[in-house]
């Protein structure tokens, strides 16, 4: 039964390989990719069902007992995130054919796409810190493949910066793993946690912890390390941006969440206080970035950053409520970011520009698009009853309960500014004088088809908000679970 867990990683890998061989037969590869993505989601949901029914699934690969072999740990958190990843990916794969050129499709889009899922799912599931590095490389390499797809001038220019900064942080990552290994003699996360706990995180361990934090913070785009993020996320195809926005930074945040609830919890006053300050700066500077531009894609890209701040805030506050808040926000943000990137992709497509100053009155021709934009603005700003609110509420509750007033105020201010930055798209782009015909009438038809995946994702955010009663209790449990690292350790290392 626990082998199913590996299948959630292996299945997309196989799908990616198959897609690689079919790259020139787009008639075949398109429906096949969609089918594979749906199967992958179904698999993930099945695993989620098993986990929620029977508890954490630990797969010792090659049957080498933990901590010596590599373990995959399917606990509720990681499997939930795998499910979210797959659902988003499925929405994207249905959007892709309309958005990509045929050339781009035939140059291994679907392979990179599935490899990305492999890497992301693997990073969520692995219980081995070096293996985490390997999965990071898988997803990064897939993202390099996706980001250069199309070979535009600006695209390659920005890709270059993206690759270089990620390469640097990967090297720092692997070095830091080595440092950690030197001190505790293990790379198995459960055993590392156990050992760090045993020596009360003494000596150089906190320094190593901070290096880990910076490695993941670079991926997660935390202040002051996010410079690389916005522009490279704008240049590729919208479907690629959506995958990046939904998945890549979130893997970084997930890693911080995991490492700093499981392993490095011995110097909370120091490490987690640093997080709170960085979280506040991340929110404010991120949203300032979003306000600074008139490019709709860039507005959305910048809005990734404050969301990261929100999630980091929960980790910094470090209580059951705030950790649950981070998890809820994480799930919500993955979905809404995917939806938003797809959405601005359509907007830029039908308007023929992504410059807000050149758009006006789109709602008269594309009402559905306009309302989807409006709702996603509300979701992003955390207006109830949409899902963004639940996470934000929990984070504020956690913050106030611990009397972290400043970061709570920062979060409220940045919520307002997020709303401002996003509603500008609606007010300036969608409202306005009705024109006789839309800017590019010939694009209406495919745009109409492109909004279905977006509507699907948005309906999920509504469901996550209005139906929070179904989703919150497990997340609440995850908060308790993460705050008690012993549960994870015991499930992996059986004495």
């Amino acid at each position: 039964m626990s082998n199913l867990l590996a299948l959630t990683i292996i299945w997309p890998l196989i799908a990616g390989i198959i897609a690689a061989f079919l790259n020139n037969k787009k008639r075949v590869v398109r429906p096949l990719a969609q089918l594979f993505a749906v199967i992958s989601s179904a698999l993930a949901i099945l695993v989620l069902y098993l986990v929620s029914a029977n508890g954490t699934i630990v797969l010792e690969t090659g049957s080498y007992e933990a901590p010596f072999g590599i373990v995959l740990v399917g606990d509720l958190l990681s499997v939930t995130l795998v499910v979210t990843t797959n659902i988003i990916a499925t929405a994207c794969v249905f959007y892709a054919p309309k958005s990509l050129t045929e050339k781009q499709e035939s140059f291994f889009f679907y392979s990179f796409f599935f490899m990305l899922i492999t890497g992301v799912s693997g990073a969520f599931l692995t219980g081995d810190i070096f293996n985490l590095f390997v999965f990071f490389e898988v997803l990064l390499m897939a993202s390099y493949g996706l980001i250069v797809l199309g070979n535009g001038k600006a695209q390659l220019r920005e890709s270059l910066k993206y690759v270089l900064i990620n390469l640097f942080s990967s090297m720092l990552f692997v070095t830091t793993v080595a440092f950690l290994y030197s001190v505790v003699g293990s790379v198995n996360m459960a055993q590392v946690a156990q050992r760090v706990q045993e020596v009360e995180q003494q000596g150089v361990l906190t320094t190593i912890a901070i290096l880990f934090f910076f490695v993941f913070a670079t991926k997660a785009a935390v202040f002051p390390l996010y410079y690389w993020l916005p522009r490279p996320y704008v240049v590729p195809n919208p479907v690629v941006s959506a995958l990046f926005g939904a998945l890549l930074t979130k893997v970084g945040i997930y890693s911080i969440l995991r490492i700093f609830t499981l392993i490095f919890v011995g110097e909370l006053d120091l490490t987690h206080t640093i997080f709170i300050y960085l979280a506040a700066f991340t929110m404010i500077f991120g949203v300032i970035g979003a306000l600074s531009t008139h490019n709709v894609k860039l507005i959305v890209a910048y809005n990734i950053i404050p969301a990261v701040g929100f999630m980091l805030m929960g980790i910094g506050i470090f209580s059951e409520v705030s950790i649950s808040g981070t998890i809820y926000y994480l799930i919500n943000d993955m979905i809404i970011k995917a939806a938003l990137f797809l959405l601005v992709g359509v907007i830029a497509y039908v308007a023929g520009t992504s410059d807000l100053r050149k758009m006006s009155g789109l709602i008269h021709h594309y009402p559905a698009l306009g309302w989807l934009m409006f709702i996603s603005t509300l979701v992003l700003a955390g207006i109830p009853p949409f899902s963004g609110f639940v996470g934000k509420l929990l984070l504020i509750q956690g913050g106030l309960a611990n009397e972290e007033i400043m970061v709570v105020i920062a979060s409220l201010v940045s919520s307002l500014l997020i709303l401002f930055s996003m509603i500008r798209i609606f007010v300036r782009g969608f409202w306005g004088e009705k024109t006789k015909s839309p800017p590019h009438p010939e694009r209406s038809k495919s745009a109409g088809r492109m909004i279905w995946p977006i509507a699907f994702l948005l309906s999920l955010t509504v469901l996550l908000g209005v139906g929070a009663e179904w989703f919150y209790p497990p997340v609440e449990w995850m908060g308790e679970y993460l705050m008690d690292p012993q549960m994870y350790i015991d499930s992996v290392i059986k004495e």
Binding site: F130, F133, V134, E137, L140, M141, Y144, V148, N151, G152, K153, A154, Q155, L156, R157, E158, S159, L160, K161, V163, L164, L167, F168, S170, M171, L172, V174, T175, V177, A178, F179, Y181, S182, V187, R231, V234, V235, N295, K297, L298, S354
Partner: protein, 112 residues
């Protein structure tokens, strides 16, 4: 010797970072290569150096050097190779398309 090796690896990082901060693409890519050399040397040093035989089981030998860092380095070397080769091609294409290999001229404000 571990301290010497740590310093050496630190110097590799240092020169790597210095190259990374330069403008010309070639230097930048060389910088990344140096950094990955430094990283691998760090991993090796983190196992204990020279404590026993090469990790190939031989009769009568009890003490072997730590095999795990070696395995990790091997994985990492291969991955670095993949990334470096991609980076080289990307650097080549990007500079051809944009007509310069100077990163400062590759700032860009147009997003297509």
């Amino acid at each position: 010797m571990e301290i010497v090796m740590s310093i050496l690896a630190g110097i590799l990082f240092m020169t790597g970072v210095y190259n990374l901060l330069q403008k010309q693409l070639l230097r930048i890519v060389i910088g990344t290569a140096l950094i990955s050399h430094g990283a691998h040397l760090f991993i090796l040093t983190m196992g204990e150096l020279k404590r026993g035989a090469p990790p190939i089981l031989t009769d009568g030998i009890e003490q072997y050097t730590d095999p795990l860092p070696q395995a990790l380095i091997l994985t990492s070397i291969v991955i670095s190779f993949g990334v470096t080769s991609l980076l080289l091609v990307l650097a080549y294409r990007a500079s051809k398309l944009n007509g310069t290999d100077n990163m400062e001229q590759l700032r860009g404000n147009d997003y297509e």
